[in-house]
């Protein structure tokens, strides 16, 4: 009896003590940031997205930088990053806002809300940026001078990846999930970014998810093919001047699901992921090639590759590994010839990478 009471008392006192755990963090984050920022998506609806930074010279990484500096989470599903002047912009998809932080201190500067499902932000000059949206049929125009909404360009389709060539922005129409299948999910739209007007539309293949520009100023569009209905995964090359498809490489429908297109410094090689769950390998392809490569550049070996980015200073390839999606992932670093250099731990689902030199 006495023992049991004692036991209960011990339990209660442990409880009281552990309630007062210190929340301070003694490690100051590294600054200034010369290297790569990694935005980790986090688990959907958990708002545990985080920002990591890796310094390739020192081979050191730091995690949870945003929280450690600002004492609040980034939000739910950190989608992408953009840098303009001395600020870093963090597009937070399911929190439906964009955070602006100082690129040196990462201190919070401002928040812009009012988006429906913001995806990517592209600066187009004159303190102006475009923001694509997975739910809204068009593009948000943001004034970066005072970080405010300027206008909305209605394009009729939801918007995803964006590249700028000359005075035109090319944007993919990736999904029609939120529009009940009523809008296009197989086109690239062309927007005149001086007048903010939709000027043209190019048909590609189902679900164009990513886009890069090569050394010829040609645009490469990677289409994953739909997971239901029409399955036509393809890699497509567009001439932005004539706005026509000049090359098309088809993948195997129902088997391949390519995504994550990236390009090297010179625009000579493109990289992408392809395969199924747990077997998503990374492929490297010359923009002059006549067919898509059969041999992977990096074999997944049961790693869960999630995104690719190439260091614009030395062509090193960074590939993120989301592991089991519920614990911190890694980012692996390879030379342009595919030799493993190093890897570092990032946050949960490391996705968007931004090189900052």
């Amino acid at each position: 009896m006495k023992k049991k009471l004692l036991f209960l008392a011990v339990v209660l006192s442990i409880a009281f003590v552990s309630c007062k755990k210190d929340k301070s963090d003694p490690t100051p984050p590294a600054s200034p940031y010369r290297g790569v920022f990694v935005l980790n998506e986090g688990t959907f609806t958990y708002a545990n997205s985080s920002l990591s930074f890796y310094d390739p010279v020192a081979d050191t990484a730091a995690n949870n930088l945003f929280f450690r500096v600002n004492h609040a989470p980034i939000g739910d599903v950190g989608q992408s990053l953009a840098k303009y002047k001395n600020s870093l912009y963090i597009v937070v998809n399911n929190s439906k806002y964009i955070y602006k932080v100082d690129a040196n201190s990462l201190l919070y500067q401002a928040k812009l809300k009012g988006f429906s499902s913001p995806r990517y932000m592209l600066t187009v000059g004159n303190d102006k940026a475009y923001v694509s949206d997975l739910e809204r049929t068009g593009i948000w125009v943001v004034d970066l001078s005072d970080f405010s909404h300027k206008k909305f360009i209605e394009t009729g389709n939801t918007t995803e990846a964006m590249v700028k060539v000359g005075n035109e922005v090319f944007v993919t129409n990736w999904s029609n999930y939120y529009t009940s299948g009523e809008t296009s999910n197989k086109t690239v739209q062309v927007i005149d970014c001086q007048n903010d007007e939709l000027v043209d539309e190019i048909e590609v293949a189902q679900e164009p998810n990513s886009m890069v520009v090569d050394k010829h100023n040609h645009i490469w569009v990677l289409c994953s093919g739909s997971y239901e209905g029409v399955q036509d995964p393809a890699l497509i090359c567009i001439d932005p001047v004539t706005r026509t498809v000049i090359k098309r490489f088809d993948f195997i429908p129902g088997v391949d699901y390519p995504s994550g297109l990236a390009v090297d410094k010179s625009g000579q090689h493109i990289y992408f992921m392809n395969g199924g769950y747990g077997t998503l390998n990374v492929y490297k392809m010359s923009v002059e090639a006549e067919q898509v490569p059969e041999t992977p550049f990096i074999v997944s070996e049961s790693k869960v590759f999630y995104s690719i980015k190439v260091d614009p200073t030395n062509d090193e390839v960074y590939i993120s590994n989301a592991k089991n999606y519920v614990m911190n992932g890694d980012v692996e670093r390879y030379s342009a010839s595919g030799e493993f250099i190093s890897k570092f731990e990032a946050g949960i689902i490391p996705s968007y990478m931004l090189f900052n030199y």
Binding site: L12, I14, K23, K111, Y257, Y325, V326, N328
Partner: protein, 629 residues
């Protein structure tokens, strides 16, 4: 001696049929005594019925976290609350209502916030080999039963509550109980604006704000009919509920005024049962029809108010259950229990490709009796046919030892093997549903020491237990390269832990003191030996009550230990949930037929999170008035 006892019981049973006296209630009690014995109750705990009545305005989730070893993961008042037994997840907690499974066939779980204690009369928790009669309860089962009422005359019980955040509750029980008939209706309505103030630490800068879009309204109606004739009993019960709840945003997202999320959850659960007794046994045949509607809406608007997104997820489930069970004394202390059960679950969902259904036919047998004078043994075996394919043989064994020289001391040990079928969402959700999923397969060994004793005015009830479970083919939803989630049999999960329960009572003069508490240590890890998310290593509760004349003062404490929200071995402090301890007080007074009660919840105004970035209320008040005829 045993024969004499049986004879006495028979006499009681006969008397019960023949006379119109209060003795009548003894029928069920004696029938229980015939068919239950030590080994059968070894792995169960009954919730105190007086407590159930006192706390009948709270949801079952709150009852369990405050008064049982079951851990509840809650999204806050009016939000989803799921139960986890012994470090398992919500899907491993089977909920039985009069023996029928009420876990939604689509999700496989039960939201305990939608079960008001008011709608229950008896709640028993079972674990390990105690769950042998059904599949699914790999962690444990919560058994909710309607009980018999005869010869009580008019029944009228009215309760009205009003509390902080404009929370109203109205509860009525009315009926008449004849010597051999009962007609009774329970009805309630509960609503809340739920707009409590909290410190939003998910925004920059942190800000004290009011919870938005968290209001809810629930209605319930339960008509019941019981008819007893000769040695038989017919029961008809219908449990109906309607609930309309808004879902608040997580803390970082609160400023999104252009989003609205809500759920509509209605159900009707109807059962009819025929039970007949004879001197050495009984047979019960029962049938149930359940319909459950679970609709979820997510709408977002443009700045000018046009709807741009509409997720309209509709799940409608129709479930039929048929059970025939027999209890029979076979030889000396040995008894046999047999059950045949057929379940038909059908879900129509706009998230599935068409209507999906599942048939489960289950055969169950148990024998229980004395191996030696102080040693009881219970052996069970079940074979289920899931869509006409055998899910395998599932045995359990329980040994109960009643100490000969220490009165009130019992030692129990059990082994059980059980499975859980994937939910229909796991199998058929579009996209992602995986029809190739295998059932989860769990084995548990557990044991406990019980001590129950009265020393004059002092009573003590203590239990100390430990368990070890291994669940193979644990189902988890994982994101894929296709950017949608797919459930897979991913891991083997090992759960082990210890439970302690203590209940003390002391009566002196007009004073009545009682103290009870639970402490649970649950260690649940996957193959990488990392503790699963949202399962605290420690949780505990305590309840103390003093009664004096018509006065009643009680104190409740609940403690939840630190929880991780990811599978990282060391959780980052920003995403780690700190332990918290809540204290609640209640003061009541009986004035003739009335009881007035005043409650303070979260007395110390603790600021805490039960789920990452979900706001929880601070101190709140409630007053209630209860009239009983």
């Amino acid at each position: 001696m045993k024969r004499l006892l049986t004879l006495v019981m028979m006499m009681f049973a006969c008397a019960a049929v023949a006379q119109d006296t209060i003795v009548l209630q003894a029928v069920e009690i004696n029938a229980d005594a015939i068919h239950r014995n030590v080994a059968e109750t070894a792995m169960e705990r009954k919730m105190d019925t007086a407590l159930l009545k006192r706390l009948n305005t709270i949801p079952m989730s709150q009852l369990l976290i405050q008064h049982s070893p079951v851990f509840i993961k809650t999204y806050g008042p009016g939000g989803v609350a799921t139960a986890s037994f012994r470090g398992t997840t919500a899907s491993h907690t089977l909920v039985l209502w009069n023996g029928f499974q009420i876990n939604a066939p689509s999700l496989g779980q039960v939201d305990f916030s939608t079960i008001p204690v008011f709608m229950t009369e008896q709640v028993a928790l079972k674990w390990g080999s105690g769950t042998s009669a059904n599949s699914g309860g790999l962690g444990g089962t919560v058994n909710i039963e309607n009980t018999e009422h005869f010869g009580e005359g008019w029944i009228l019980d009215l309760k009205q509550t009003y509390g902080s955040f404009n929370t109203f509750g109205s509860y009525i029980t009315a009926g008449y109980s004849w010597a051999s008939h009962l007609v009774r209706v329970k009805a309630y309505r509960c609503s809340s604006d739920n707009d409590f103030e909290y410190n939003n630490i998910g925004v920059i800068p942190h800000q004290v704000m009011k919870q938005k879009n968290a209001d809810f309204v629930d209605y319930g109606l339960m008509p019941e009919f019981q008819w007893r004739f000769r040695k038989s009993l017919i029961t008809i019960v219908s449990w109906n509920q309607w609930s309309d709840r808004n879902c608040p945003q997580i803390m970082p997202n609160v400023n999104n005024s252009n989003t609205k999320e809500y759920t509509i959850n209605d159900y009707t659960r109807n059962m009819v049962s025929y039970k007949t007794y004879w001197n050495t046994g009984k047979i019960e045949v029962k049938s149930a029809y359940f319909y459950e509607k679970q609709h979820y809406f997510l709408e977002s608007y443009t700045n000018i108010g046009t709807v741009v997104t509409k997720i309209n997820s509709k799940n409608d489930a129709n479930v039929l259950h048929q059970i025939a069970e027999v209890d029979q004394d076979i030889y000396r202390s040995w008894k046999f229990k047999g059950k045949v059960q057929w379940d038909y679950e059908q879900v129509k969902s706009n998230n599935y490709d068409g209507v999906k259904a599942r048939n489960t036919l289950s055969f169950y047998g148990a024998v229980v009796g004395k191996v030696l004078k102080p040693l009881d043994l219970r052996l069970t075996l079940r074979n289920d046919l899931v869509d006409w394919k055998s899910a395998g043989w599932f045995p359990t064994a329980t040994l109960s030892y009643s100490a000969l020289y220490v009165k009130g001391l019992k030692v129990n040990a059990g082994y059980s093997h059980n499975y859980r079928s994937p939910s229909l969402n796991d199998l058929y959700w579009h996209p992602g549903g995986n029809p190739d999923l295998k059932p989860e397969n769990g084995r548990t060994v557990d044991g406990n020491i019980n001590y129950t004793r009265s020393f004059g005015l002092f009573t003590i009830e203590g239990q100390l237990g430990a368990y070890y479970s291994k669940v193979k083919d644990w189902i988890q939803w994982k994101p894929t390269a296709w950017r949608y989630w797919v459930p897979e049999n991913v891991a083997t999960v090992i759960a082990y832990g210890a439970e302690a329960h203590l209940k003390l009572g002391y009566t002196v003069g007009d004073w009545d003191f009682s103290l009870s508490g639970n402490y649970v240590y649950s260690h649940t890890t996957d193959e990488m030996e990392i503790q699963l998310i949202y399962i605290p290593l420690h949780h505990a509760n305590a309840f103390a009550e003093v009664k004096w004349h018509d006065w009643n003062l009680s104190y409740t404490m609940e403690y939840t230990g630190e929880r991780k929200t990811s599978m990282n071995p060391n959780e980052f402090y920003g995403f780690r949930l700190d332990p918290y301890m809540l204290h609640h007080l209640a003061l009541g007074k009986r004035i003739r037929h009335f009881i007035v009660e005043f409650k303070i919840n979260n007395v110390t105004d603790v600021d805490y999170m039960a789920i990452l970035w979900r706001a929880m209320p601070g101190r709140s008040f409630e007053i209630s008035l209860n009239y009983t005829l």
